[in-house]
Symmetry: C2
Subunit: 522 residues, 2 copies
């Protein structure tokens, strides 16, 4: 694999001096357009053998390009806050927003490579971890991110010569560390691991470029032109992609309008809010919506559940077991009330409620999962999402904010995301609190009548109500795709608030308990 | 102080039931207006004796108000990332943006109170720490934040009765902890510390409200009405303040125009770019701008300095000594070039360059110092600000983005901020790289000629150049106010780039060295 990077290619000084100014100018031009359009971010990832010039490349690119639009990211061992969250938390946090470039050193490849080279991880584990790198890059590429990866290569002989030369001068000897020599001694193992890594993660949309790095002039110009060409090509592809998406959106809109017309015709003569639309058969159809709990029992059981929850909460904290809850459901289903019954039993230092509304502009400039990653709390804490990443396949799908290919892709992306949470040991509890359409109408009317509840009711709630069936279908799709063994959905029959709240708190207790017992066994 | 909160005030159930709905509605109304206007944030701070109902108050306010616009913040012991930064980092991070409410439990008062009650801190240290709470709140209040603080009080006898009652029921006994009884045993000490705290930090703009907490109905209505009235009053004050500010801005504008006219008249007949404006006498006037370093010496010295810097950098990392560098200076002074000479000697994992440009909307919704707090890096790291918080008293002052009272106040706010950095042990190095007006013109012209440097030159640079003297005066004011013993400014004569870069790197080495030696002695 690397023999093509040991050909001894060099570029004479005179040629370099001639080509460099033009290349710099072109790089600046693509960078300026990138920032002006703000349509996608660029990820440059740089890895390679020691002494091949990764640090020099960082300095070079920061010198050639506008450093204000280029953020360099290199990673040391994780801090305790980082260890307390899934491995990729810190990479998500550092992703460049649209229009900017992130220059990553090793990043998500560091730990898999290290684990393999130092014999910690088996070949199978290595492959698994590479698959995660791949999935991460795919998710970003799907979202439009341009990813360019460089592996800087030196032959074993050239590497040795290079180290020796640096070591001879006391002023540059600091550049060569003991680790460099350690790696040199196991050059073959490093090479084998790198080869496997490149094989597994060099894809059409996130390719590895192997760069012969012995001659700085050749290396610099190669990296520079690769970046220039890749960004230029991405401009064109992105424009084509945007056009395609616009066309699809138009088409979808036409389809929706036709559906709407057909629907209106079929309900002709019915009162529009009286079940005129025939309800589609979904997982929600089979629920027993008459389930209820008398108020007196409710009070006693709530007290009991909350005492149990508090006990489990403290135990989880001791074990550094994190919990993530998310609540979805129709408007007025009682999500807020259920959340408050949980938080009443918790210590305010250890939980956080994250209401999900429209994204801020920092969030809009990122992948849609970014704003959920940023809110993951530390080990032992409870994070409660009031609405969640499922918005992608609910409101964004139904309102057309996400294109069809985007929301269809989201099911897999969400599974990947949730897998990272549960693999990290996080207890993930997902609630769909359901109410019937009639019950919702009752609650809307009650809200209108109670002055201090009126704020909860907006025009949007009434509009959403019109899309009841579309939501039912969307929920059905969610349960089908995203109710996994590790992260099952809990559907709560919510027509009776007392019944629903007890089911919510009790489910949480059960899942916490089994996680605590599970982790005790280990 | 607390006797007025032991009067046994209660509110009958019937009265509560009557008043509660109206109060909830009013609270929702002020909250809605707050969010609509997005003019200022609200901080509610809740503290008090154990069992007085802090947790219940959190639940109450989350139930009464729109919880999506109300974030609750309670704090446990700091994580290692938090310990690696100044104490207030986590509070800054959690401040509510304009239009929203932050409900803080103890927060910045927790550690001072704890330190005093458990005998760790002397009365003098306690007072000092309270002064910091006070300064923090003043800075926020100056920026428009409304701050309302509650101390929930119970007499010793009532507290005991309350604990006993909770303990009797196995389902509520979890609410009483050993720490609660410990605090009860030292009730008098807690009371004395609280009294001192309230004395020292109850100001007109961030008053403490002592609430008799024995009766939940009385407590709830008192807190609710206090919040409602305070926000309403702040609406009026804020409108008045805005009006005043607008008038002042108009006046300032008129003054500036008059000055400009006078200036134009006086330079009548001179070429506009030839020093026509008489240069004001400032700290910059006395610089020897002819200082230079031959290129050959430069190369040798740079290599030496970088080797020394790398050594010190690794030593600082070992000692977890953080460094913050900031660079200011006229356009084209060579800030970027100097920064790259530093980073070339550093390990990319341990430094970050933060270019300061226009704030994002998340940043704009916060106090102007918030975006600098958010970028402080962990212990042992180097953070390099390319432009900085001094923008407040440079560009924002000169362009009128900050009103006069705002930028005048900023000198003290910046000193307070930098004091927190240096007190935490951070090495703070502040560079003003200076060039003469003629040299700047040369460099602008050169940039225009070199294609790959042209991007560095914008219309704004030419416009800023017109304000040369205003900047000189502003820099003079900065040196006067903000060159403190702990955080001195380094003025770099920048006409010769070689000389300037060596001075920059060498100054950093010296300051790092003295900090390392200083901390070794301890």
């Amino acid at each position: 694999m690397f023999s093509t990077a040991e050909l001894g290619r060099t570029i004479p000084k005179s040629e370099y001096r001639q080509r460099e100014p033009l290349l710099r100018q072109e790089l600046l031009e693509v960078q300026a357009k990138l920032f002006e359009d703000r349509e996608f971010p660029v990820i440059l990832l740089c890895a390679g053998v020691d002494g091949a010039g990764k640090g020099e490349t960082v300095n070079l690119l920061n010198g050639w390009m506008d450093p204000r639009l280029l953020a360099t990211r290199a990673y040391d061992k994780p801090s305790d806050e980082e260890r307390g969250r899934p491995e990729y938390w810190r990479f998500w946090r550092d992703l460049p927003p649209k229009g900017r470039i992130g220059l990553f050193l090793y990043a998500w490849y560091a730990s898999p490579l290290h684990g393999r080279i130092h014999g910690k991880d088996s070949a199978a584990v290595f492959d698994e971890r590479l698959a995660r790198c791949h999935a991460f890059e795919e998710a970003l590429a799907d979202d439009g991110t341009l990813i360019i990866k460089f592996w800087l290569h030196l032959s074993k002989a050239v590497q040795k010569k290079h180290f020796k030369k640096l070591e001879k001068d006391p002023l540059t000897s600091w550049r060569v560390t003991q680790q460099d020599w350690d790696h040199w001694n196991r050059y073959e193992e490093v090479e084998a691991a790198a080869e496997r890594m490149i094989q597994r993660t060099s894809t059409g949309r996130a390719p590895w470029n192997i760069v012969e790095a012995a001659d700085p002039a050749y290396r610099s110009l190669t990296i520079g032109t690769t970046i220039r060409d890749a960004i230029r090509k991405h401009f064109d592809e992105f424009a084509a992609r945007r056009k395609l998406r616009e066309e699809m959106a138009l088409q979808q809109h036409a389809t929706r309008q036709a559906e709407h017309a057909a629907e209106s015709a079929s309900v002709n003569g019915h009162a529009s809010d009286k079940g005129g639309q025939s309800t589609p058969l979904t997982v929600l159809s089979g629920l027993d919506m008459t389930l209820q709990l008398p108020k007196r029992d409710y009070r006693a059981q709530l007290k009991e559940c909350q005492a149990r929850l508090n006990h489990l909460h403290r135990e989880a904290l001791k074990q550094k077991l994190s919990t993530i809850l998310l609540f979805e459901g129709p408007d007025a289903a009682g999500k807020g009330g259920a959340i408050r019954r949980i938080t009443a039993a918790l210590d305010a230092r250890y939980y956080e409620v994250i209401p999900i509304a429209a994204p801020t502009d920092e969030e809009r400039a990122q992948h849609y999962l970014w704003r959920f990653w940023r809110h993951l709390s530390r080990a032992g804490r409870i994070t409660i999402f009031d609405r969640s990443w499922y918005g992608r396949v609910l409101v964004e799908r139904i309102e057309g904010f996400a294109a069809e290919d985007e929301w269809r892709r989201a099911y897999a992306e969400i599974n990947e995301f949730e897998e990272q949470l549960t693999e990290h040991g996080i207890v993930l509890v997902k609630y769909w609190i359901h109410i019937t359409r009639d019950e919702q109408l009752e609650r809307f009317k009650a809200r209108e009548k109670t002055p201090y509840k009126r704020w909860k009711l907006t025009g949007e709630d009434w509009r959403n109500r019109e899309k009841w069936n579309a939501y039912a279908v969307a929920v059905n799709d969610i349960i089908e795709h995203n109710s996994t063994h590790n992260a099952p959905w809990t559907i709560v029959e919510g027509n009776d608030k007392c019944y629903a709240r007890i089911k919510v708190v009790r489910t949480l207790c059960e899942q916490l308990e089994s996680a605590i017992n599970g982790s005790k066994k280990h």
